[in-house]
Protein backbone atom coordinates (compact mmCIF):
# COMPACT_ATOMS: atom_id res chain seq x y z
CA UNK A 1 0.00 0.00 0.00
CA UNK A 2 1.55 3.32 -1.00
CA UNK A 3 0.82 6.83 -2.10
CA UNK A 4 2.64 7.93 -5.24
CA UNK A 5 3.03 11.55 -6.21
CA UNK A 6 3.75 11.67 -9.92
CA UNK A 7 5.11 15.15 -10.66
CA UNK A 8 2.26 16.94 -8.97
CA UNK A 9 2.28 20.70 -8.49
CA UNK A 10 -0.45 23.20 -7.63
CA UNK A 11 -1.74 24.98 -10.70
CA UNK A 12 -1.40 28.35 -8.98
CA UNK A 13 2.24 27.90 -7.85
CA UNK A 14 4.94 29.63 -9.88
CA UNK A 15 7.24 27.20 -11.61
CA UNK A 16 10.31 28.74 -9.90
CA UNK A 17 8.98 27.72 -6.49
CA UNK A 18 8.80 24.09 -7.51
CA UNK A 19 12.34 23.80 -8.82
CA UNK A 20 13.99 23.33 -5.44
CA UNK A 21 11.12 21.39 -3.90
CA UNK A 22 11.53 17.71 -2.90
CA UNK A 23 7.84 17.16 -3.64
CA UNK A 24 6.51 19.43 -6.39
CA UNK A 25 7.05 18.10 -9.87
CA UNK A 26 8.93 15.13 -8.48
CA UNK A 27 8.27 11.41 -8.25
CA UNK A 28 7.64 10.75 -4.55
CA UNK A 29 6.45 7.57 -2.85
CA UNK A 30 5.01 7.29 0.65
CA UNK A 31 4.93 3.69 1.81
CA UNK A 32 2.63 2.31 4.47
CA UNK A 33 4.41 2.25 7.82
CA UNK A 34 6.88 5.01 6.85
CA UNK A 35 7.19 8.24 8.79
CA UNK A 36 7.61 11.26 6.57
CA UNK A 37 8.23 14.79 7.71
CA UNK A 38 7.47 17.58 5.26
CA UNK A 39 9.01 20.95 6.06
CA UNK A 40 7.15 23.72 4.32
CA UNK A 41 7.51 27.47 4.84
CA UNK A 42 4.45 29.67 4.39
CA UNK A 43 3.28 29.99 0.81
CA UNK A 44 4.96 26.82 -0.36
CA UNK A 45 1.67 24.97 -0.74
CA UNK A 46 1.76 22.84 2.42
CA UNK A 47 -1.98 22.92 3.08
CA UNK A 48 -2.63 22.48 -0.63
CA UNK A 49 -0.60 19.25 -0.56
CA UNK A 50 -2.56 18.01 2.45
CA UNK A 51 -5.85 18.89 0.76
CA UNK A 52 -4.77 17.17 -2.45
CA UNK A 53 -3.92 14.02 -0.49
CA UNK A 54 -7.30 14.10 1.26
CA UNK A 55 -9.29 14.75 -1.95
CA UNK A 56 -10.53 18.13 -0.82
CA UNK A 57 -9.08 19.92 -3.85
CA UNK A 58 -7.83 18.85 -7.25
CA UNK A 59 -6.30 21.92 -8.88
CA UNK A 60 -2.95 20.30 -9.53
CA UNK A 61 -1.02 18.97 -12.45
CA UNK A 62 0.32 15.45 -12.41
CA UNK A 63 -1.24 12.44 -10.70
CA UNK A 64 -1.64 11.10 -7.20
CA UNK A 65 -1.99 7.34 -7.06
CA UNK A 66 -3.25 5.49 -4.03
CA UNK A 67 -2.44 1.80 -4.25
CA UNK A 68 -2.00 2.28 -7.99
CA UNK A 69 -5.32 4.09 -8.55
CA UNK A 70 -5.53 7.73 -9.58
CA UNK A 71 -7.44 9.43 -6.78
CA UNK A 72 -8.74 12.11 -9.15
CA UNK A 73 -11.00 9.46 -10.68
CA UNK A 74 -12.62 8.47 -7.39
CA UNK A 75 -16.42 8.61 -7.27
CA UNK A 76 -18.13 10.25 -4.26
CA UNK A 77 -18.54 6.79 -2.70
CA UNK A 78 -14.85 5.95 -3.32
CA UNK A 79 -13.91 9.23 -1.63
CA UNK A 80 -16.06 8.39 1.36
CA UNK A 81 -14.42 4.97 1.74
CA UNK A 82 -10.93 6.52 1.32
CA UNK A 83 -11.64 8.92 4.18
CA UNK A 84 -13.36 6.33 6.33
CA UNK A 85 -10.73 3.64 6.22
CA UNK A 86 -7.58 4.57 4.37
CA UNK A 87 -6.46 8.10 5.12
CA UNK A 88 -7.10 10.04 8.32
CA UNK A 89 -6.33 13.71 8.82
CA UNK A 90 -5.75 16.50 11.30
CA UNK A 91 -6.59 19.76 9.56
CA UNK A 92 -4.67 22.92 10.20
CA UNK A 93 -8.03 24.65 10.74
CA UNK A 94 -9.25 21.66 12.79
CA UNK A 95 -12.80 21.61 11.35
CA UNK A 96 -14.74 20.65 14.46
CA UNK A 97 -18.49 21.00 15.05
CA UNK A 98 -18.26 24.08 17.24
CA UNK A 99 -21.84 23.78 18.57
CA UNK A 100 -21.27 20.26 19.84
CA UNK A 101 -19.25 18.83 22.67
CA UNK A 102 -15.76 17.42 22.36
CA UNK A 103 -17.15 13.96 23.03
CA UNK A 104 -19.82 14.36 20.32
CA UNK A 105 -17.18 15.55 17.84
CA UNK A 106 -15.13 12.45 18.48
CA UNK A 107 -18.10 10.10 18.65
CA UNK A 108 -19.47 11.18 15.25
CA UNK A 109 -16.21 9.98 13.70
CA UNK A 110 -15.88 6.89 15.85
CA UNK A 111 -19.36 5.68 14.96
CA UNK A 112 -18.59 5.76 11.24
CA UNK A 113 -15.98 2.97 11.04
CA UNK A 114 -14.48 2.33 14.51
CA UNK A 115 -11.06 0.78 14.97
CA UNK A 116 -11.45 -1.80 17.65
CA UNK A 117 -7.85 -1.85 18.81
CA UNK A 118 -7.71 1.89 19.40
CA UNK A 119 -7.30 3.09 22.93
CA UNK A 120 -10.56 4.16 24.47
CA UNK A 121 -11.71 7.71 24.25
CA UNK A 122 -11.23 8.17 27.97
CA UNK A 123 -7.65 6.91 27.83
CA UNK A 124 -6.79 9.23 24.96
CA UNK A 125 -8.41 12.21 26.64
CA UNK A 126 -6.53 11.42 29.82
CA UNK A 127 -3.21 11.14 27.94
CA UNK A 128 -3.71 14.53 26.35
CA UNK A 129 -5.14 16.17 29.48
CA UNK A 130 -8.58 17.12 28.20
CA UNK A 131 -10.76 14.76 30.20
CA UNK A 132 -12.56 17.63 31.87
CA UNK A 133 -13.26 19.28 28.54
CA UNK A 134 -15.04 16.36 26.92
CA UNK A 135 -18.57 17.59 27.64
CA UNK A 136 -17.77 21.18 26.79
CA UNK A 137 -18.77 22.63 23.45
CA UNK A 138 -15.77 22.52 21.15
CA UNK A 139 -16.35 26.13 20.13
CA UNK A 140 -15.57 27.44 23.61
CA UNK A 141 -12.47 25.30 24.16
CA UNK A 142 -9.08 26.93 23.67
CA UNK A 143 -7.34 26.41 20.35
CA UNK A 144 -4.90 24.01 21.96
CA UNK A 145 -7.74 21.97 23.45
CA UNK A 146 -9.45 21.94 20.07
CA UNK A 147 -6.27 20.66 18.47
CA UNK A 148 -6.15 17.80 20.94
CA UNK A 149 -9.81 17.00 20.25
CA UNK A 150 -9.07 16.97 16.51
CA UNK A 151 -6.09 14.65 17.09
CA UNK A 152 -8.18 12.21 19.15
CA UNK A 153 -10.89 12.34 16.50
CA UNK A 154 -8.41 11.41 13.78
CA UNK A 155 -7.35 8.30 15.73
CA UNK A 156 -10.84 6.75 15.97
CA UNK A 157 -10.80 5.06 12.57
CA UNK A 158 -8.71 2.49 10.69
CA UNK A 159 -6.17 4.12 8.35
CA UNK A 160 -3.19 3.27 6.19
CA UNK A 161 -1.87 6.83 6.39
CA UNK A 162 -2.47 9.71 8.74
CA UNK A 163 -1.86 13.18 7.38
CA UNK A 164 -1.15 15.99 9.86
CA UNK A 165 -1.06 19.68 9.00
CA UNK A 166 0.67 21.71 11.78
CA UNK A 167 -1.03 19.56 14.45
CA UNK A 168 0.87 21.07 17.41
CA UNK A 169 0.83 24.73 16.46
CA UNK A 170 -0.98 25.72 19.67
CA UNK A 171 0.42 23.13 22.04
CA UNK A 172 3.33 23.54 24.40
CA UNK A 173 6.26 21.16 24.04
CA UNK A 174 5.08 18.80 26.74
CA UNK A 175 1.62 18.37 25.28
CA UNK A 176 3.06 18.19 21.78
CA UNK A 177 5.29 15.29 22.78
CA UNK A 178 2.36 13.51 24.43
CA UNK A 179 0.23 14.02 21.34
CA UNK A 180 3.04 12.77 19.08
CA UNK A 181 3.45 9.71 21.25
CA UNK A 182 -0.28 8.96 21.03
CA UNK A 183 -0.24 9.37 17.25
CA UNK A 184 2.77 7.13 16.73
CA UNK A 185 1.34 4.46 19.06
CA UNK A 186 -1.98 4.37 17.24
CA UNK A 187 -0.25 4.43 13.83
CA UNK A 188 1.90 1.51 14.88
CA UNK A 189 -1.21 -0.50 15.82
CA UNK A 190 -2.37 -0.05 12.23
CA UNK A 191 1.13 -0.29 10.69
CA UNK A 192 0.16 3.00 9.13
CA UNK A 193 2.30 5.70 7.61
CA UNK A 194 2.56 9.18 9.13
CA UNK A 195 2.90 12.27 6.94
CA UNK A 196 3.48 15.32 9.13
CA UNK A 197 3.71 18.75 7.48
CA UNK A 198 4.89 21.76 9.47
CA UNK A 199 6.63 25.09 9.07
CA UNK A 200 9.73 23.74 10.80
CA UNK A 201 11.22 20.37 11.49
CA UNK A 202 9.46 18.75 14.47
CA UNK A 203 12.35 17.51 16.68
CA UNK A 204 10.37 14.87 18.59
CA UNK A 205 9.00 13.25 15.45
CA UNK A 206 11.35 10.40 14.53
CA UNK A 207 10.81 10.36 10.82
CA UNK A 208 12.30 8.01 8.24
CA UNK A 209 12.78 10.90 5.83
CA UNK A 210 12.37 14.66 5.66
CA UNK A 211 11.19 16.39 2.52
CA UNK A 212 11.37 20.12 1.88
CA UNK A 213 8.48 21.60 0.04
Amino acid sequence: MQIQLQKIAPQYLEIEKTQHSDVWNKEVVFKKGERIQIVAPSGSGKSSLIHFLYLLRNEYTGQILFDGKNIATFSPEDKAKYRQQQVSIVFQDLRLFSQHSAAANIEIKKTLVPFSAAASLEEMAAQLGITKKMQQNAGICSYGEQQRIAIIRSLQQPFDFIVLDEPFSHLDENNSIKAMHLITTEAAKRNAGIILADLHKVPFFESDSTLFL
Binding site: A104, I108, L112
Partner: protein
Protein backbone atom coordinates in the same frame (compact mmCIF):
# COMPACT_ATOMS: atom_id res chain seq x y z
CA UNK B 1 -23.25 0.94 17.31
CA UNK B 2 -25.01 0.73 13.96
CA UNK B 3 -25.09 3.96 11.99
CA UNK B 4 -28.51 5.53 11.86
CA UNK B 5 -30.21 8.89 11.64
CA UNK B 6 -29.98 9.17 15.41
CA UNK B 7 -26.22 9.74 15.22
CA UNK B 8 -26.39 12.58 12.70
CA UNK B 9 -29.67 14.11 13.88
CA UNK B 10 -27.98 16.54 16.30
CA UNK B 11 -25.96 17.94 13.41
CA UNK B 12 -28.96 18.73 11.20
CA UNK B 13 -31.18 21.76 11.55
CA UNK B 14 -34.45 19.86 11.06
CA UNK B 15 -36.40 22.15 13.36
CA UNK B 16 -36.30 24.96 10.83
CA UNK B 17 -39.69 26.32 9.74
CA UNK B 18 -41.81 23.84 11.65
CA UNK B 19 -44.92 25.79 10.70
CA UNK B 20 -44.40 25.44 6.96
CA UNK B 21 -43.57 21.78 7.41
CA UNK B 22 -46.84 21.13 9.25
CA UNK B 23 -48.81 23.08 6.65
CA UNK B 24 -47.26 20.99 3.90
CA UNK B 25 -48.25 17.79 5.75
CA UNK B 26 -51.80 19.09 6.10
CA UNK B 27 -51.94 20.14 2.46
CA UNK B 28 -50.70 16.75 1.34
CA UNK B 29 -53.24 14.98 3.51
CA UNK B 30 -56.11 17.09 2.21
CA UNK B 31 -54.98 16.68 -1.39
CA UNK B 32 -54.62 12.91 -1.11
CA UNK B 33 -57.96 12.60 0.67
CA UNK B 34 -59.70 14.72 -1.95
CA UNK B 35 -58.13 12.78 -4.81
CA UNK B 36 -58.95 9.34 -3.43
CA UNK B 37 -62.47 10.38 -2.40
CA UNK B 38 -63.13 11.77 -5.85
CA UNK B 39 -61.89 8.58 -7.45
CA UNK B 40 -64.15 6.47 -5.24
CA UNK B 41 -67.12 8.77 -5.97
CA UNK B 42 -66.44 8.47 -9.70
CA UNK B 43 -66.59 4.71 -9.37
CA UNK B 44 -69.71 4.89 -7.18
CA UNK B 45 -71.47 7.07 -9.76
CA UNK B 46 -70.70 4.59 -12.49
CA UNK B 47 -72.14 1.76 -10.45
CA UNK B 48 -75.21 3.58 -9.15
CA UNK B 49 -76.25 5.11 -12.45
CA UNK B 50 -75.77 2.09 -14.61
CA UNK B 51 -79.01 1.33 -16.44
CA UNK B 52 -81.22 -0.93 -14.37
CA UNK B 53 -84.07 -1.73 -16.76
CA UNK B 54 -84.60 -5.47 -16.83
CA UNK B 55 -83.23 -6.73 -20.09
CA UNK B 56 -83.50 -10.31 -21.10
CA UNK B 57 -80.49 -10.14 -23.34
CA UNK B 58 -78.32 -7.85 -21.20
CA UNK B 59 -78.27 -5.09 -23.85
CA UNK B 60 -80.02 -1.78 -24.41
CA UNK B 61 -81.54 -1.10 -27.81
CA UNK B 62 -81.89 2.56 -28.59
CA UNK B 63 -82.99 4.28 -31.77
CA UNK B 64 -81.10 7.35 -32.82
CA UNK B 65 -81.88 9.93 -35.44
CA UNK B 66 -80.18 13.01 -36.72
CA UNK B 67 -81.28 16.17 -35.01
CA UNK B 68 -83.39 18.33 -37.29
CA UNK B 69 -82.32 21.95 -36.99
CA UNK B 70 -83.15 25.09 -38.88
CA UNK B 71 -79.89 24.63 -40.75
CA UNK B 72 -80.50 21.11 -42.02
CA UNK B 73 -84.28 20.99 -42.42
CA UNK B 74 -85.19 19.83 -45.91
CA UNK B 75 -81.79 18.23 -46.44
CA UNK B 76 -81.01 14.53 -46.50
CA UNK B 77 -80.86 13.59 -42.80
CA UNK B 78 -80.41 9.89 -43.36
CA UNK B 79 -77.45 7.86 -42.11
CA UNK B 80 -74.90 6.88 -44.71
CA UNK B 81 -73.17 3.49 -44.69
CA UNK B 82 -70.01 5.22 -43.44
CA UNK B 83 -71.86 6.77 -40.50
CA UNK B 84 -73.37 3.41 -39.57
CA UNK B 85 -69.91 1.80 -39.83
CA UNK B 86 -68.52 4.51 -37.56
CA UNK B 87 -71.19 3.70 -34.99
CA UNK B 88 -70.46 0.00 -35.21
CA UNK B 89 -66.77 0.56 -34.62
CA UNK B 90 -67.23 2.46 -31.36
CA UNK B 91 -66.11 0.47 -28.31
CA UNK B 92 -69.20 1.27 -26.27
CA UNK B 93 -71.61 0.15 -29.06
CA UNK B 94 -72.00 -3.56 -29.65
CA UNK B 95 -73.89 -3.27 -32.90
CA UNK B 96 -75.75 -0.74 -35.05
CA UNK B 97 -78.25 -1.39 -37.79
CA UNK B 98 -80.40 0.86 -39.98
CA UNK B 99 -84.17 0.85 -39.81
CA UNK B 100 -85.37 0.70 -43.41
CA UNK B 101 -88.64 2.51 -44.07
CA UNK B 102 -91.24 2.22 -46.82
CA UNK B 103 -90.78 4.50 -49.81
CA UNK B 104 -94.38 4.11 -50.98
CA UNK B 105 -97.79 4.96 -49.51
CA UNK B 106 -99.33 2.29 -47.30
CA UNK B 107 -102.85 2.23 -45.98
CA UNK B 108 -104.24 -0.46 -43.73
CA UNK B 109 -107.84 -1.41 -43.19
CA UNK B 110 -109.19 -3.81 -40.59
CA UNK B 111 -111.93 -5.39 -42.66
CA UNK B 112 -115.34 -6.31 -41.27
CA UNK B 113 -113.99 -7.20 -37.84
CA UNK B 114 -112.32 -3.84 -37.41
CA UNK B 115 -114.00 -1.27 -39.63
CA UNK B 116 -111.38 1.50 -39.99
CA UNK B 117 -108.75 2.52 -42.46
CA UNK B 118 -105.58 4.39 -41.76
CA UNK B 119 -102.36 5.37 -43.46
CA UNK B 120 -99.45 3.66 -41.74
CA UNK B 121 -95.72 3.25 -42.16
CA UNK B 122 -93.70 0.09 -42.39
CA UNK B 123 -90.15 -0.46 -41.27
CA UNK B 124 -87.70 -3.35 -41.34
CA UNK B 125 -84.65 -4.13 -39.22
CA UNK B 126 -82.08 -6.91 -38.82
CA UNK B 127 -83.87 -9.80 -37.08
CA UNK B 128 -81.41 -10.15 -34.19
CA UNK B 129 -82.47 -6.69 -33.02
CA UNK B 130 -86.07 -7.81 -32.61
CA UNK B 131 -86.96 -9.22 -29.20
CA UNK B 132 -89.72 -11.61 -30.30
CA UNK B 133 -89.52 -13.36 -33.65
CA UNK B 134 -91.99 -16.14 -34.24
CA UNK B 135 -91.18 -18.73 -36.89
CA UNK B 136 -93.95 -17.24 -39.08
CA UNK B 137 -92.07 -13.95 -39.49
CA UNK B 138 -90.85 -14.75 -43.02
CA UNK B 139 -91.89 -13.70 -46.50
CA UNK B 140 -91.15 -14.91 -50.00
CA UNK B 141 -91.77 -12.97 -53.23
CA UNK B 142 -95.21 -13.82 -54.46
CA UNK B 143 -96.53 -14.40 -50.96
CA UNK B 144 -99.66 -12.36 -50.33
CA UNK B 145 -99.53 -12.67 -46.56
CA UNK B 146 -97.08 -10.26 -44.88
CA UNK B 147 -96.26 -10.98 -41.21
CA UNK B 148 -96.14 -7.89 -39.03
CA UNK B 149 -94.62 -7.24 -35.59
CA UNK B 150 -95.89 -4.10 -33.90
CA UNK B 151 -94.81 -2.32 -30.76
CA UNK B 152 -96.73 -3.39 -27.68
CA UNK B 153 -97.21 0.33 -26.98
CA UNK B 154 -99.28 0.62 -30.14
CA UNK B 155 -101.71 -2.10 -28.97
CA UNK B 156 -102.04 -0.33 -25.66
CA UNK B 157 -102.69 3.00 -27.39
CA UNK B 158 -105.28 1.37 -29.64
CA UNK B 159 -107.09 -0.29 -26.77
CA UNK B 160 -107.04 2.68 -24.41
CA UNK B 161 -107.37 5.67 -26.71
CA UNK B 162 -108.17 4.85 -30.32
CA UNK B 163 -110.80 2.13 -29.97
CA UNK B 164 -112.97 3.89 -27.34
CA UNK B 165 -112.90 7.16 -29.29
CA UNK B 166 -114.20 5.45 -32.44
CA UNK B 167 -116.40 2.89 -30.83
CA UNK B 168 -114.20 0.12 -32.14
CA UNK B 169 -113.72 -3.23 -30.41
CA UNK B 170 -110.66 -3.61 -28.19
CA UNK B 171 -108.28 -6.37 -29.10
CA UNK B 172 -106.46 -8.75 -26.76
CA UNK B 173 -102.95 -10.01 -27.39
CA UNK B 174 -104.27 -13.46 -28.06
CA UNK B 175 -106.87 -12.20 -30.56
CA UNK B 176 -104.36 -10.10 -32.46
CA UNK B 177 -103.06 -13.13 -34.34
CA UNK B 178 -106.48 -13.82 -35.78
CA UNK B 179 -106.79 -10.32 -37.14
CA UNK B 180 -105.94 -9.99 -40.86
CA UNK B 181 -105.75 -6.51 -42.29
CA UNK B 182 -105.56 -5.36 -45.87
CA UNK B 183 -102.41 -3.47 -46.82
CA UNK B 184 -102.74 -1.27 -49.87
CA UNK B 185 -99.28 -0.30 -51.16
CA UNK B 186 -99.14 2.43 -53.80
CA UNK B 187 -96.09 3.74 -55.63
CA UNK B 188 -94.85 4.74 -59.09
CA UNK B 189 -95.48 1.25 -60.34
CA UNK B 190 -99.10 1.28 -59.19
CA UNK B 191 -100.87 -0.40 -56.28
CA UNK B 192 -100.43 -3.84 -54.83
CA UNK B 193 -102.64 -5.40 -52.16
CA UNK B 194 -101.28 -7.62 -49.40
CA UNK B 195 -102.76 -9.19 -46.32
CA UNK B 196 -101.09 -8.22 -43.09
CA UNK B 197 -101.12 -10.47 -40.04
CA UNK B 198 -99.79 -9.37 -36.65
CA UNK B 199 -97.67 -12.28 -35.48
CA UNK B 200 -95.99 -10.76 -32.41
CA UNK B 201 -95.68 -7.72 -30.18
CA UNK B 202 -92.33 -6.07 -29.47
CA UNK B 203 -91.33 -4.29 -26.25
CA UNK B 204 -88.15 -3.12 -27.86
CA UNK B 205 -88.80 -1.74 -31.33
CA UNK B 206 -91.17 1.20 -31.46
CA UNK B 207 -92.52 0.61 -34.98
CA UNK B 208 -94.52 -1.54 -37.40
CA UNK B 209 -92.00 -4.15 -38.50
CA UNK B 210 -92.21 -6.30 -41.59
CA UNK B 211 -89.62 -8.76 -42.92
CA UNK B 212 -86.64 -6.95 -44.40
CA UNK B 213 -86.75 -8.80 -47.71
CA UNK B 214 -90.42 -7.82 -48.16
CA UNK B 215 -89.71 -4.11 -47.66
CA UNK B 216 -86.67 -4.18 -49.92
CA UNK B 217 -88.72 -5.98 -52.58
CA UNK B 218 -91.64 -3.57 -52.18
CA UNK B 219 -89.47 -0.45 -52.27
CA UNK B 220 -87.93 -1.69 -55.49
CA UNK B 221 -91.03 -3.08 -57.19
CA UNK B 222 -93.62 -0.55 -56.06
CA UNK B 223 -91.61 2.64 -55.57
CA UNK B 224 -88.61 1.88 -57.81
CA UNK B 225 -86.18 2.66 -54.99
CA UNK B 226 -83.31 0.38 -54.05
CA UNK B 227 -80.62 0.73 -51.36
CA UNK B 228 -82.04 3.81 -49.72
CA UNK B 229 -80.43 5.21 -46.62
CA UNK B 230 -82.18 4.98 -43.29
CA UNK B 231 -83.20 7.94 -41.18
CA UNK B 232 -83.26 5.86 -38.01
CA UNK B 233 -80.56 3.59 -36.68
CA UNK B 234 -80.91 1.18 -33.81
CA UNK B 235 -77.88 0.67 -31.65
CA UNK B 236 -77.17 -2.13 -29.24
CA UNK B 237 -75.20 -1.23 -26.12
CA UNK B 238 -74.58 -2.66 -22.67
CA UNK B 239 -74.98 0.71 -21.01
CA UNK B 240 -77.32 3.38 -22.29
CA UNK B 241 -76.00 5.74 -19.66
CA UNK B 242 -72.42 5.53 -20.84
CA UNK B 243 -71.03 9.06 -20.76
CA UNK B 244 -68.82 8.48 -23.79
CA UNK B 245 -71.94 7.42 -25.71
CA UNK B 246 -73.76 10.60 -24.75
CA UNK B 247 -70.74 12.73 -25.65
CA UNK B 248 -70.57 11.01 -29.05
CA UNK B 249 -74.24 11.74 -29.70
CA UNK B 250 -73.79 15.41 -28.80
CA UNK B 251 -70.68 15.78 -30.94
CA UNK B 252 -72.41 14.29 -33.99
CA UNK B 253 -75.77 16.02 -33.48
CA UNK B 254 -77.63 12.75 -33.03
CA UNK B 255 -80.60 12.48 -30.75
CA UNK B 256 -82.24 9.71 -28.80
CA UNK B 257 -85.27 9.25 -26.63
CA UNK B 258 -84.27 11.40 -23.65
CA UNK B 259 -85.97 9.13 -21.18
CA UNK B 260 -83.66 6.27 -22.12
CA UNK B 261 -80.57 8.28 -21.34
CA UNK B 262 -81.64 10.49 -18.47
CA UNK B 263 -79.37 8.68 -16.03
CA UNK B 264 -76.56 9.13 -18.48
CA UNK B 265 -76.98 12.90 -18.49
CA UNK B 266 -77.01 13.00 -14.71
CA UNK B 267 -73.94 10.79 -14.67
CA UNK B 268 -72.25 13.09 -17.18
CA UNK B 269 -72.70 16.12 -14.94
CA UNK B 270 -71.68 14.31 -11.76
CA UNK B 271 -68.59 12.89 -13.38
CA UNK B 272 -67.63 16.31 -14.70
CA UNK B 273 -67.91 17.72 -11.17
CA UNK B 274 -65.89 14.86 -9.73
CA UNK B 275 -63.25 15.21 -12.46
CA UNK B 276 -62.95 18.87 -11.57
CA UNK B 277 -62.38 17.87 -7.96
CA UNK B 278 -59.69 15.42 -9.05
CA UNK B 279 -57.92 18.21 -10.91
CA UNK B 280 -58.15 20.45 -7.85
CA UNK B 281 -56.84 17.65 -5.62
CA UNK B 282 -53.83 17.09 -7.87
CA UNK B 283 -53.08 20.82 -7.66
CA UNK B 284 -53.29 20.75 -3.86
CA UNK B 285 -50.93 17.77 -3.73
CA UNK B 286 -48.45 19.48 -6.05
CA UNK B 287 -48.51 22.65 -3.94
CA UNK B 288 -48.02 20.68 -0.73
CA UNK B 289 -45.07 18.83 -2.20
CA UNK B 290 -43.56 22.08 -3.45
CA UNK B 291 -43.88 23.59 0.04
CA UNK B 292 -42.23 20.51 1.53
CA UNK B 293 -39.41 20.68 -0.98
CA UNK B 294 -38.81 24.31 0.08
CA UNK B 295 -38.64 23.13 3.66
CA UNK B 296 -36.09 20.45 2.71
CA UNK B 297 -33.97 22.94 0.79
CA UNK B 298 -34.07 25.30 3.75
CA UNK B 299 -33.12 22.53 6.16
CA UNK B 300 -30.19 21.44 4.04
CA UNK B 301 -29.08 25.04 3.46
CA UNK B 302 -29.12 25.71 7.22
CA UNK B 303 -27.27 22.44 7.88
CA UNK B 304 -24.88 22.96 4.96
CA UNK B 305 -21.70 23.48 6.99
CA UNK B 306 -22.37 20.47 9.17
CA UNK B 307 -23.32 18.29 6.21
CA UNK B 308 -20.17 19.33 4.35
CA UNK B 309 -18.07 18.47 7.39
CA UNK B 310 -19.75 15.08 7.71
CA UNK B 311 -18.90 14.39 4.08
CA UNK B 312 -15.34 15.59 4.73
CA UNK B 313 -15.04 13.21 7.67
CA UNK B 314 -15.97 10.31 5.38
CA UNK B 315 -19.75 10.00 5.59
CA UNK B 316 -21.07 8.53 2.34
CA UNK B 317 -23.28 10.89 0.33
CA UNK B 318 -25.52 7.97 -0.64
CA UNK B 319 -25.91 6.89 2.96
CA UNK B 320 -26.62 10.45 4.08
CA UNK B 321 -29.24 10.87 1.32
CA UNK B 322 -31.02 7.64 2.20
CA UNK B 323 -30.83 8.20 5.94
CA UNK B 324 -32.12 11.76 5.79
CA UNK B 325 -34.85 10.83 3.28
CA UNK B 326 -35.98 7.81 5.35
CA UNK B 327 -36.77 10.09 8.24
CA UNK B 328 -39.86 11.34 6.45
CA UNK B 329 -41.18 7.97 5.33
CA UNK B 330 -43.22 7.35 8.50
CA UNK B 331 -44.89 10.74 8.02
CA UNK B 332 -45.81 9.98 4.42
CA UNK B 333 -47.13 6.56 5.39
CA UNK B 334 -49.20 8.18 8.14
CA UNK B 335 -50.64 10.85 5.83
CA UNK B 336 -51.50 8.57 2.92
CA UNK B 337 -52.58 5.70 5.18
CA UNK B 338 -54.89 7.99 7.14
CA UNK B 339 -56.37 9.33 3.92
CA UNK B 340 -57.09 5.82 2.64
CA UNK B 341 -58.66 4.92 5.97
CA UNK B 342 -60.84 8.05 5.91
CA UNK B 343 -61.97 7.29 2.36
CA UNK B 344 -62.94 3.79 3.52
CA UNK B 345 -64.91 5.28 6.42
CA UNK B 346 -66.62 7.77 4.13
CA UNK B 347 -67.58 4.92 1.76
CA UNK B 348 -69.03 2.90 4.58
CA UNK B 349 -71.05 5.79 6.02
CA UNK B 350 -72.13 6.94 2.55
CA UNK B 351 -73.72 3.57 1.92
CA UNK B 352 -75.23 3.31 5.39
CA UNK B 353 -76.59 6.84 5.60
CA UNK B 354 -77.63 7.64 2.04
CA UNK B 355 -78.10 4.34 0.29
CA UNK B 356 -79.78 2.29 2.94
CA UNK B 357 -80.80 -1.03 1.50
CA UNK B 358 -78.82 -0.92 -1.69
CA UNK B 359 -76.43 -3.80 -1.99
CA UNK B 360 -75.04 -3.07 -5.44
CA UNK B 361 -72.36 -0.73 -4.07
CA UNK B 362 -69.49 -2.38 -2.22
CA UNK B 363 -68.81 -1.06 1.32
CA UNK B 364 -65.10 -1.53 0.56
CA UNK B 365 -63.19 1.03 -1.47
CA UNK B 366 -62.23 0.01 -4.97
CA UNK B 367 -58.85 -1.64 -5.56
CA UNK B 368 -57.91 1.17 -7.98
CA UNK B 369 -58.23 3.68 -5.11
CA UNK B 370 -55.86 1.55 -2.99
CA UNK B 371 -53.39 1.29 -5.83
CA UNK B 372 -53.55 5.05 -6.39
CA UNK B 373 -52.87 5.60 -2.69
CA UNK B 374 -49.87 3.26 -2.86
CA UNK B 375 -48.63 4.99 -6.01
CA UNK B 376 -48.94 8.42 -4.36
CA UNK B 377 -46.97 7.16 -1.37
CA UNK B 378 -44.21 5.79 -3.61
CA UNK B 379 -44.17 9.04 -5.57
CA UNK B 380 -43.82 11.17 -2.44
CA UNK B 381 -41.00 9.00 -1.08
CA UNK B 382 -39.25 8.88 -4.46
CA UNK B 383 -39.42 12.63 -5.06
CA UNK B 384 -38.29 13.29 -1.50
CA UNK B 385 -35.25 11.01 -1.85
CA UNK B 386 -34.36 12.39 -5.29
CA UNK B 387 -34.41 15.96 -4.02
CA UNK B 388 -32.32 15.23 -0.92
CA UNK B 389 -29.80 13.27 -2.97
CA UNK B 390 -29.50 16.10 -5.47
CA UNK B 391 -29.03 18.71 -2.74
CA UNK B 392 -26.44 16.65 -0.88
CA UNK B 393 -24.43 15.83 -3.98
CA UNK B 394 -24.24 19.53 -4.72
CA UNK B 395 -22.50 20.22 -1.38
Amino acid sequence: MKLSFKQIAPFLNTGASTGSRLISYLGLGIGVLLLLCSMQMFININVLLKDRNPRTSGFDYISITKKITDQNVGQDNSFSAAEISALQSLPFIDDATPLIANKFVVSASGGPALPFTTDIFLEAIKTDFIDTIPPSFTWQPGQAMVPIIISSDYLELYNTVFAPSRDLPQISEGAMGALVMQLECTGVYGTQIFRGNIVALSDRINSVIVPQNFLEWANKNIANISNSNATRVYIKTTDANNVEFLNYLQENNYQVNKDKTKFGRVKQILQAVVSGLVGFAVLVILLAMMLFSFYLQLMIARSKDNLQLLLTLGYSPNWLSKTVAKRWIPMYVLIVGSSVLLVQLFQYFFIQQFLNGRDDLSPMIDWSVLITGAALLALCIGINYGLIRKLLHRL
